[in-house]
């Protein structure tokens, strides 16, 4: 990799993979929970939660980034508290890039999983209940396996979105090589300097390759899962 890519480029690719993976993995349990709540429960404030989840999809990414800076920055309400109690700092760190990517990708993840949950016949869950399974067990043994394709699709969509996240990231954690310079930030940076185009182009190719791989992988996995469920 180093033979073909410069250390700075390799670093950006590696950082992006790390940021997107962390963003996807950490937001997945919360995504499943929120999707389940939106799909199956009725509670006051449901529409508010729905709106909140979808906000990053419609707000300008710069606005989301700035709001993150306000709340999770060193002086932000949550940021300051996390810094003091857990020593966890987001601002201008790669973890902050993961937070920004996770927030931006969250609506896509929730939408995919929510659709999958809504497609599960509640009668099956009812049947599981009559056979002695409590609600958590019904979820673990019936709902979860049945929405697996949706979870995979949502995760890969979120991962791809995280890989491409630019506006909120650069606003929240800036564009520090080796620290917070993700693939899109690096492409942007290379395009700002004269003669940087070949480097930018290499990164563009890598971005396309990663996105295509993710897409094909998800197609293949969901086909395997669907075949397993269809029987034979």
């Amino acid at each position: 990799m180093t033979g073909w890519l410069s250390p700075a480029e390799a670093q950006a690719v590696w950082l992006s993979l790390k940021v997107s993976a962390l963003a996807t993995v950490v937001s997945l349990p919360l995504g499943i929970f929120v999707a389940h709540a939106l799909a199956r429960w009725n509670f006051p404030g449901k529409q508010v939660l729905n709106g909140l989840v979808h906000l990053p999809l419609i707000l300008p990414p710069v606005v989301t980034g700035y709001l993150l800076l306000l709340t999770f920055g060193r002086k932000g309400v949550i940021g300051a508290w996390l810094d003091q109690t857990l020593g966890l700092v987001f601002a201008f760190r790669w973890t902050g890039a993961a937070l920004a990517a996770g927030v931006m990708a969250f609506p896509l993840m929730v939408r995919a999983i929510r659709l999958a949950i809504e497609a599960v016949d509640p009668k099956l869950e009812q049947a599981a209940g009559t056979l002695g399974a409590s609600r958590p067990w019904v979820f673990a043994t019936v709902t979860l396996p049945l929405i697996l394709p949706g979870i995979l699709a949502g995760s890969i969509l979120a991962f791809a979105k995280a890989m491409g996240e630019f506006g909120a990231t650069i606003t929240f954690v800036s564009n520090i090589p080796g620290q917070t310079q993700t693939l899109p930030s690096a492409i942007y940076a290379f395009l700002q300097v004269p003669g940087g185009e070949p480097q930018a182009f290499r990164l563009v190719l890598i971005a396309i390759a990663i996105a295509m791989t993710a897409l094909l992988l998800s197609e293949w996995i969901s086909r395997v899962v669907a075949r397993r469920i269809a029987g034979a």
Partner: protein, 361 residues
């Protein structure tokens, strides 16, 4: 023993039922909209009644007066749905074992291999529900409920979605489960043939109320209940023991009132059989008829003559220990001047008892 008392008000419909289901299979029978499925859902805990009490043996499932309402998963049920509701992501074997996994340790459970053999689903164990036919699915659903070590089996029209051939296949299996199960079975149906074959106890629901209830043979032979059950399909039960297979393809059954010949019944000699005699197939004669093609002539005593609204009359007969209904015209009833206590003869063609109307007693 299952005891049920429910009161629940829906928009435009009030359910108000009270009944006991003794061991064996209790059929909730009634028109659609009579509240049959609602009762089963309330027993299962899928519906919380306004008022009521549901108890199986000494286990109270619902008691609104004391604020008791067990969620479905703590009721120890086996519920067979009309649409089998098998888990599509699990194999047949995993489906069958699903309930057992949640049953308390040491619960008296049916033997897995024995149940699989009884239902004839051995070759299906490693398949998934998506690859099964409707009849196969329903067999697996029966096995899944039965193997969950339930205290109570609920069956909500388990045969309704199947064609006649599948029904004929599965009915004997339900009969065997009924005889194997040590727990009460509550069975929803709107099919009289099913009632006649399967029921021990019959509960007739009408507009959310219990119209009649009692042992199935008594209710099916009650002229007063016939209208509610459906006159065209009126028929009563006769219990006889298979005695011999004759060389010409007929089977001889022994009944206290005399022998009965039917087209070949496949069963071991000595097997007690339950026959459903359609009321419209039973002819009456004042003297033992001679020179008649019908093979079965049984001495009978008139118990009741029940004239209906139209031109028909229902006659209740005692044939040995059994009560049997005959549906004749009022004109014939008047011509024979039938009166209770009269000794007459019931005439029955051998071929008038369809194979589907014969089952183990």
């Amino acid at each position: 023993m299952l005891s049920v008392a429910l009161h629940h008000r829906f928009a435009g419909f009030t359910l108000d039922v009270r009944f006991d289901a003794p061991p064996g299979l209790t059929v909730l029978f009634g028109r659609s909209g009579a509240g049959k499925s609602t009762v089963v859902q309330a027993v299962a805990g899928l519906l919380r009644p306004d008022q009521g009490r549901v108890a199986v043996a000494d286990m109270v499932l619902t008691d609104t007066a004391r604020g008791v309402f067990l969620p479905p998963h703590r009721r120890r049920l086996g519920y067979v749905f009309q649409d089998s509701r098998l888990f599509p992501h699990l194999t047949v074997r995993q489906n069958l074992l699903y309930g057992r996994w949640f049953a308390p340790r040491g619960a008296p459970a049916a033997d897995f291999d024995r149940t699989v053999a009884l239902l004839g689903i051995g070759p299906l164990l490693d398949r998934r529900p998506g690859a099964l036919s409707g009849g196969e699915r329903q067999r697996v659903a029966l096995g899944r409920a039965f193997l969950a070590a339930p205290n109570l089996l609920l069956m909500d029209e388990p045969l309704a979605a199947l064609d006649e051939e599948r029904k004929a296949e599965i009915m004997p299996l339900i009969e065997r489960l009924r005889d194997e199960a040590r727990v009460p079975i509550l069975y929803v149906s709107h099919s009289l043939p099913e009632v006649a074959r399967l029921a021990t106890t019959l509960i007739l629901l009408d507009e959310g109320r219990v119209a009649r209830q009692g042992p199935v043979a008594a209710l099916l032979s009650d002229p007063a209940a016939a209208a509610a059950l459906g006159l065209r399909e009126a028929g009563s039960l006769l219990t006889a023991r298979l005695a011999a297979q004759d060389a010409d393809g007929l089977s001889r059954l022994d009944h206290p009132a005399g022998p009965i010949w039917l087209p070949r019944v496949e069963a071991a000699p000595g097997t007690p059989l339950r026959l459903r005699l359609m009321a419209q197939d039973v002819m009456l004669a004042l003297t033992r008829p001679e020179g008649i093609s019908a093979l079965n002539v049984l001495p009978a005593t008139v118990r009741d003559v029940h004239a209906g609204q139209g031109p028909g009359t229902l006659v209740q007969l005692a044939i040995g220990p059994d009560l049997v209904l005959a549906r004749i015209t009022r004109r014939s009833a008047e011509a024979l001047s039938l009166t209770p206590g009269q000794q007459i003869f019931a005439v029955l063609k051998a071929v008038s008892v369809a194979p589907g109307n014969i089952g183990p007693a």
